[in-house]
Amino acid sequence: MTNMIQFFVRLFLITLGMIQMALASSAFEQGNAAYQAKKYATALTHYQSALKEGASANLWYNMGNAYHQSGDHARAVHAFSEALRLQPRDRATHHNLAIARKSLQLPAPKRDMRWATGHLTRNEYAGLTILALAWLTLFAWRGHSTPRGFNIIFNACAAIFLTASIIAWLSHHHAPNEAMIIAPEATLHLSPLAASEVLGKTASGSLVHLGKKHAGYVFIEDSDATKRGWISETAISQLRKW
């Protein structure tokens, strides 16, 4: 009886998931149709509703295109950056991001430690981890029955996979919370008050590190650590963490 209940619960969840995917896919396709009809605002509305069902690299990429075509280059930079986090080797995304950045006259982004580990997606690292663990499990149980040379090569590969995955996870997971400036004229304040002293302006589309929040304001520091101050939360769009 218990097994029967479990079976039906699983069946229900799978069906629900498929319906969600179908809905998301439908919104995505509607967005594409609107984009091709050059109705970029409508396309963005559909893409946003598809995003609520689940993000994907192609969805972010198409959103970036739609933002760029509608003239919102800062949000385009943000969307392309999100797409790159899911699909870091995609040439089309790199190309379009460069165009969006150029539209904002932004300098080339600086590379940090994450660049070295950013060539693979999170799933690829997860896949490598599972492969390495599967081999180590096999080795732990049946390693005596496989040739010694075979064991050495596979153990070395497993060690490399696990080390790379751990480094990638640490470098991305412990990176500061990041956001893009999306407002065209974002002003930095000395304190989290609209009336407080203005310290300067930040370039739209630039990447900043986020600090604490207070009363609708968030403390930011640019990636060069040269500018810091409080900025309205509406002026930024936070990037998803790894």
Binding site: A92, H95, N123, E124, L133, L136, A140, L199, G200
Partner: protein
Amino acid sequence: MNRIRLCIIVVIYQFLLMGLAAAAQVQAVLDRAEMVAGDAAILTLTIEGGAAGNVDLPNVANLQFESRGQSRQVQIINGRMSQSMTYRYLVKSETAGKYVIPAFDVNVGNEVYRTNEMALNVLAAEDQPAAAANDENRFGFLTVDLATRDRDFAYHGEIAPVRIRAWIPAASRASLRSGVQPESPAFTLHHVSQEYEQSQQTRDGKPYIVLTWYGGISATKVGKHPVSLALKAIVAVPDDRAAAAPRRQRGGAFNDPFFDSVFDSMQTRYIEKEVTLRSEGKPLEVRPLPSEGRPENFSGAVGEFSFEAHELPDSWQTGDPQTVRATIGGKGNFSLMDAPVLTPSALWKSYPAKDHFAAKDPASFSGSKSFEFSAFPNQAGTPEVALTLSFFNPTSGKYQTIQSPAKPVQIIGAQIAEPTIAAATVADIPVPPLPVGDVLFPIKLAQQAWWTLPALGQRAAMIPILSLSALLILTGIFWRRLTRSPQAISKKQNRATQLAVKKALDESKKAAERADTPGFFDAGKRAVQIQLGAMWGMHPQAITLADVRQRFDESHPLTQFIQTADQMAYAGQMSNGQVFSHWQKMLDEGLNALRVKK
């Protein structure tokens, strides 16, 4: 050794003589020309090359002078020693008016020197705002030095090197609260040095700590705008207007003003204020770039540039992209410069270029920009190929197009109408053709590829998978250690021995049933050998009757069985069924006895 001593003495005397030989100079300076009634100005009397006796200040109606101490500085520059004495006086007045402090005599050694005359305008209280700016300058100010130019206007997008100096009064403390920023949105600063240079300089007779930055400034708005920069800082200046403390008298050789600055400065009071240091904003006319004569391929570069190097392939194939490199040097706004274009332009399709800028000065005003891009020809031929770049020259006020030396290039292949991509694609990922120029790649019609799904690591199943894997690995390691322990191996060996003994006994029983005497004794002997081999740690086949006799007596069933088995093997005697049961029983007894003994 004596020579060295002599040299040192000569050098010291030379310094002293040079110091004494220098003629004294006397200068009296007021720190401001205007002040508000009730306020105070500082009169600084500097005597270089000596010290004054008593200074008798002149009497001026409605002006009061209060001594604020004295200090001595000794400097050795380029081997030359100089000393100066500075006497500071507070000049106060409660009555508005224009005053003149007349020149007065100062005795330095046996000489009498005369100071200059000084004017002081004391304003009434209602004129205080006019004097506020002067008061603000008390905490410091900025100066902006633009590169020498022979015109009083700039062009939109033009960049000029700039030196920015913050002048902060010496003996004050300052903490910068911002970077240098233009006050007008019509100008933008570029590449301002992150670190400033610090030095000490004198301006209008007053010593300052000078912080210097280098950078570039460019005009972003057309019109007439003041070039004014600002810097926020917290500056604490010594409170010169506080009541003068009487100079501390010291006994003996220390009763000298030289020691005053060391000990008395510790008690100096400071006025701290958050200020915005500003430069004087002289207006500058910013003109738009002329539309007349603007080349088609003008991308916005303003300055004076030339080709430093370029690299073109010797031969080409239509539709096959090859790399073109060019380096352009000069001075101006490099950030607005795009890659040069290939000519004849109708023949080529080019991809977006990668660029790298190498500055030759701190302001990044002069330098060279290297471009690298791919291009392919559309049709075959042997054209003269060159690279061209258009820019606006602000010195001449005209657009200029420069061209690299033309090079004949052999192009083969069929003519192509549309741009295609023949190379530079990632083999295993289907990639649409690269758009030419700043054209976006098209949208993607498929929503998801499995490798771009939200991360497995964020899924609920990932943690159980990892945990299970780790558990399996640990269990496997534990199991292997467990199965390789000496006890486990011994147990395994015992089990194998018992199996082998049982197998041999079964064979012997079957041989008995067949009345196969040699087979019976051979199998029985093997069972005994296996059992004894496991007990004695010997190979079973190596155990002989002699070994058995050595350990057991003659009456032991196993001794008798082995002896009989050997006899049967060598003598070939036959036995009947009763004999088989006898020896079978003896064999069982012997083996059981061994098991009990073990």
